[in-house]
């Protein structure tokens, strides 16, 4: 069943139309990657699913339910967790406090909260080490892990990841993607991943969409694409 479905999406910021027309879907258990250059409209697409972007037109459906007009809070409770482009961790709160906030919807069920924190620490051991450290002092890679860990705290059905490689050194990016792969193995979590960094993203993807200037220009199975090298053309539009 299609877990997430976007039809005819159009997003604007004032007079600027960031997303002209996007149609895509994500099946349960899949990892779908949205690729595109800067300004293609990738982040706007994700943010519109999360409920914070200004949707002019279009529909977003989750498990068949129309969530287009839902508030960000409601969307999280439905099981859609977002890791935004800037990570947006709370720099003055500790690692643990960030995670606790991520698990807000489970706050009343204390044992679930504790268990989930343990799971996140298992996935990202470095966070356990730094658990009482103020998040603003973590390195870029650590912040990224914290952001992902925090999103996992709500036990989401689908994870939206916006450019996890942004601003990070190649070795760190490696590590992050290793963690994501581990996550997929352990939990079979559905993932919608947005990236500029094509190669890494393709290595964990089931399907790929290419976004250029606000529109989907191509899509297909990742396995098919890995063979072709002309995806560069689609990416940059030469």
């Amino acid at each position: 069943m299609k877990m997430l479905e976007i039809n005819n999406l159009q997003v604007n910021y004032g007079p600027v139309i960031a997303v002209k027309k996007v149609d895509l879907f994500v099946n349960q258990g899949e990892t779908v990657v949205l690729l595109g250059a800067n300004g293609a409209g990738k982040s706007s697409t994700l943010l519109s699913i999360a409920g914070v972007a200004n949707k002019l037109l279009g529909k977003v459906k989750f498990s068949g339910k129309d969530i287009t007009k839902f508030s960000p809070e409601k969307i999280l409770t439905l099981g859609i967790a977002t890791v935004p482009e800037n990570r947006d961790i709370f720099p003055d709160l500790s690692v643990k406090e960030n995670l606790v906030l991520g698990g807000y919807i489970n706050r009343k069920k204390n044992n679930i909260l504790q268990d989930t924190i343990e799971e996140v620490y298992n996935l990202f051991p470095i966070l356990s080490e730094r658990n009482s450290q103020v998040a603003g002092t973590l390195s870029g890679g650590e912040q990224q892990m914290l952001a992902i860990g925090r999103a996992l705290m709500s036990k989401p059905k689908i994870l939206l990841l916006d450019e996890p490689s942004l601003g990070l050194a190649p070795t760190i990016v490696e590590k992050i993607y290793e963690h994501i792969e581990q996550l997929k193995k352990d939990t079979n979590l559905t993932i919608l991943l947005v990236e500029q960094h094509a190669m890494k993203a393709l290595s964990i993807a089931d399907r790929v969409y290419f976004l250029r200037l606000g529109e989907i220009v191509s899509s297909g199975k990742a396995s098919d694409l890995k063979e072709k090298t002309d995806f560069k053309k689609i990416y940059f539009g030469e």
Binding site: A50, G51, V52, S71, P72, E73, L76, T77, T82, P84, N86, D88, I89, F90, P91, D92, L93, E97, V100, L101, G102, Y104, I105, R107, G136, R150, S154, G167
Partner: protein
């Protein structure tokens, strides 16, 4: 002599600090100035006045008044903030200003323009003497109550989930919502706490001036304002610090300056405000990092 001075500054500063804290709570999360904040003191004063002569003990009257302050604070959000929050910063300034005017004139209309006496337990005005210091009981109570409030407040913000959520919201409101934390809950809580703090400070204020009149809220508003600008508009510690600094300035002026210069005290304090806005607009204590990397 010096000890007397310290006690005076601390007792005045504790009052100022509470006022400033209440104002900064709302500003920190919403980035909006609440011009109707001072009117919570009006609510306190008139509530106690209206309950005068009732069979209830004074504590009950004060408690009810503080409850009214909380309710009116939340009400301010619904009337002046929520409808125009998205529109513009200027709009909120004006709507809260209008709401403040509304409350003042409602008091004028429904009660009276004349100052009304607000009954306070007499023991509050009794003097206490120790180590060469003479001070009314209420001053010591001010210091004690403020101390207690600050501890409780600090613990609450640090340890409770709601406190955590409010601190997060002050840093990055959108992200907080994306974690499933209801925006309305956070905002209403901020206004409620603001109302509580203003209510406690207002009760202490009333014990000082023993009188309520429609314009009573102006001075507390200005105090909160100035203290927050000096101390830091985005920092809870800054607001408290600002309150004590302002009390220090005011007390020092009272002690040191001759009467004919003293009447220009406000010129000095507001000039400091302007200077700080020019030189260090974030105030003395920097607020939380915004968490956004450029």
């Amino acid at each position: 002599m010096f000890l007397q001075y310290i006690v005076d500054v601390l007792s005045l500063g504790s009052l100022y600090a509470l006022f400033a804290l209440g104002l900064v709570l709302v500003y920190g999360i919403l980035k909006l100035v609440n011009f109707a904040y001072g009117e919570l003191v009006l609510v306190i004063g008139y509530s106690i006045f209206l309950l005068k002569g009732s069979p209830f003990p004074w504590f009950f009257m004060a408690g009810t008044a503080i409850l009214m302050s909380i309710l009116f604070s939340i009400f301010t959000d619904y009337v002046a903030f929520r409808p125009v929050r998205e529109k513009s910063v200027t709009a909120v300034l004006i709507t809260s200003f209008a709401f403040a005017t509304l409350l003042q004139n409602a008091a004028l209309l429904l009660i009276s323009a004349k100052p009304k006496n607000v009954p306070m337990p007499s023991f509050l005005s009794d003097s206490v003497q120790f180590l060469g210091v003479i001070t009314p009981v209420r001053n010591l109570i001010s210091i004690f109550v403020t101390f207690l409030c600050l501890i409780i407040f600090y613990q609450f913000m640090k340890r409770s989930t709601l406190g955590l959520a409010m601190r997060a919201a002050a840093t990055n409101f959108n992200m907080t919502r994306m974690l499933g934390i209801p925006a309305n809950l956070v905002i209403t809580s901020a206004f409620a706490m603001s109302g509580l703090l203003a209510g406690i400070a207002g009760t202490l204020w009333m014990s000082k001036i023993a009188n309520v009149f429609p314009g009573v809220g102006l001075e507390p508003l200005l105090i909160a304002f100035i203290a927050t600008v000096i101390g830091g508009m985005r920092s809870v510690h800054g607001a408290v610090l600002g309150g004590f600094i302002l009390a220090f300035i005011d007390m020092s002026f009272n002690y040191l300056l001759p009467q004919d210069i003293l009447k220009f005290r406000d010129v000095f304090t507001f000039s400091i405000v302007i200077l700080i806005l020019l030189i260090r607009p974030q105030g003395l204590v920097k607020g939380p990092a915004t968490g956004i990397r450029t």
